[in-house]
Subunit: 333 residues, 2 copies
């Protein structure tokens, strides 16, 4: 597959993007990469590395969208930005997917504007593949829609289910509605209404409510929530994991015996970090649009970009977008 | 202070309640405890322990509210339940606070019904004292109100601030609004409207939005959110902490070197668990009513009940409820 990277997206752009591209090609994570951004800068950066020149190309873009830019207006105004040009390449079928570590709002707005929504989809959502105790699962929406209606959540369930089916190869994926209790009478107005709509939906395998304490248990393939709750939850998880490790480190530093213990546990900590580390996954996917936009973390390093390329490549190979288009073409919702 | 315990609240009632009472008196966590529930059962259970008979009393109640009971109707129907009688004792000034590990919905409904709301308070909220990296802080609402309006959240901020001031002895407590970004333009409809109301409020020290990943940093004294988001967040934190430890244990068991390391780190793990363990705090407080109801976890053991008694005792001593009554008496909101 051919992957385009918005090379001026991340906080430290373009170095992580350039190095990430070189690493991804070295590890054969995709067939070809196109870096989009200021040509002279990218050429200079690329010259530092050893790489197969047939597999990394540069496409010039004179503008960049900043983290502080307003999403919608910047996308309209900066037509020659690295982000908009990357998406246009995909739209024109020059590449098979796009990776950007830039302003999330701008990636969403530009993707919506350039690719368009899949027919009948009301609202695209940001879906994240996460690791539970036992297997990967999908959670959506984690930030595209701060205010949602029940019909939006029902569509997220559908999009999440198709995503789990084609990308994670799950048969009849189990869908859980994130809620504050397991009983169907629990929840807020949104979750109560969503529950009854999901129960009526015969296309997808809705298994009921799921509480925050159980989402990492590995029982569910798709967790559905509105973008506000999803985003708060995601960031809380990040915060708790960081806090556990920082408190542990603090205590360890107080005793030499504990330091020895920590040394012996180093391989365990490393494996654990790998499981919990976001940069291992590379990014989130905007679902519901006619194209593939992988949204990487603004603080992505080269490894995170490399993994985002692998992720984009695998999504393109899975045919998820085509399957979603076909599903909504066929079905009335 | 005199504490009443709903002795038939917890999942394993009444043993945790009885043993918790004995331990609390032994450690002088309060002056006197009244256990409310079936007299003969409580007498039999108490007889197993050595305790000061002048400091633990029993008040008979023939009924119990079950976890599966509907909150509001059970409170109306079961007038002779251990919960309702405990609250009535407090209302009649026979005790200074109540602890219950029973059905949270029933504790809320019965407290509202028995104590009444503090004048001008629109909605009581469940507030939890949590441990950040550096100090304790308060988060509310964590489950009383699944759907909230901006004016409710503004009152939660006020109640939380008074709670932090009198119970945690914080001067001019810093209030943060839980949100999906730090900028004031971020959020859903509810958080945007709440933000502008809080900014106008001159009585309390609103410092802006706070993201989930930063709530454990220790910068904020009071975190405000609606009961749905708060409850999801709380349970997610529980889930993540449990998952980190269970993944760690799994990895440790795979290698004898790691097992030795874990042995050396035992004191560190113990301290960490103490910091993260809910039962150390004992319970949450229903704020906004004319009385003290400490809501303990349904799965509370004796230690958790003991700590809930200490917590109830300290809240009663802090005079938080009286201060809140005076504040709302004086102020127009």
């Amino acid at each position: 597959m051919r992957i385009a990277i918005d090379a001026f997206g991340s906080d430290n752009a373009p170095l992580p993007e350039v190095e990430g591209a070189v690493l991804a090609i070295k590890e054969n994570f995709c067939d070809e990469i196109t870096l989009i951004g200021k040509e002279d800068v990218l050429k200079n950066q690329l010259a530092k590395f050893d790489y197969d020149e047939n597999r990394i190309k540069i496409v010039h873009a004179s503008e960049t969208i900043e983290m502080s830019d307003k999403a919608a207006s910047s996308v309209r105004k900066k037509k020659d930005s690295s982000l908009v040009k990357a998406l246009q390449l995909h739209k024109d079928n020059q590449v098979d997917a796009v990776v950007s570590a830039g302003n999330t709002g701008a990636v969403m707005a530009a993707s919506l504007f350039t690719y368009g929504r899949i027919k009948k989809v009301l609202r695209p959502a940001i879906a994240l593949v996460m690791q539970s105790k036992t297997k990967q699962f999908i959670i959506l929406d984690v930030g595209a829609n701060a205010d949602c209606k029940p019909e939006h959540l029902v569509q997220f369930a559908g999009l999440g289910s198709l995503y789990a089916q084609y990308y994670l190869n799950r048969e009849n994926p189990k869908i859980g509605l994130l809620n504050i209790g397991e009983e169907e009478t629990k929840g807020n107005d949104l979750s109560l209404k969503t529950y009854s709509l999901l129960e009526e939906d015969k296309d997808f395998n809705f298994v009921g409510n799921i509480e925050g304490k159980h989402i990492l248990d590995g029982e569910i393939d798709v967790v559905v929530c509105d973008g506000f709750v999803g985003n708060v939850m995601l960031k809380t998880m990040e915060g708790v994991a960081m806090t556990v490790f920082s408190l542990m480190k603090e205590e360890i530093m107080k005793s030499w015996l504990a330091k020895v213990g920590a040394l012996l546990l180093k391989p365990v900590f490393k494996k654990l970090k790998l499981k919990l580390d976001h940069s291992e996954y590379g990014g989130a996917l905007l679902v519901g649009v006619n194209g593939i936009s992988v949204i990487a973390h603004g603080s992505s390093n080269a490894k995170a970009i490399k993994n985002a390329v692998r992720f984009a490549n695998n999504i393109a190979k899975s045919g998820f977008v085509q399957h979603a288009q076909e599903y909504y073409e066929r079905n009335k919702i």
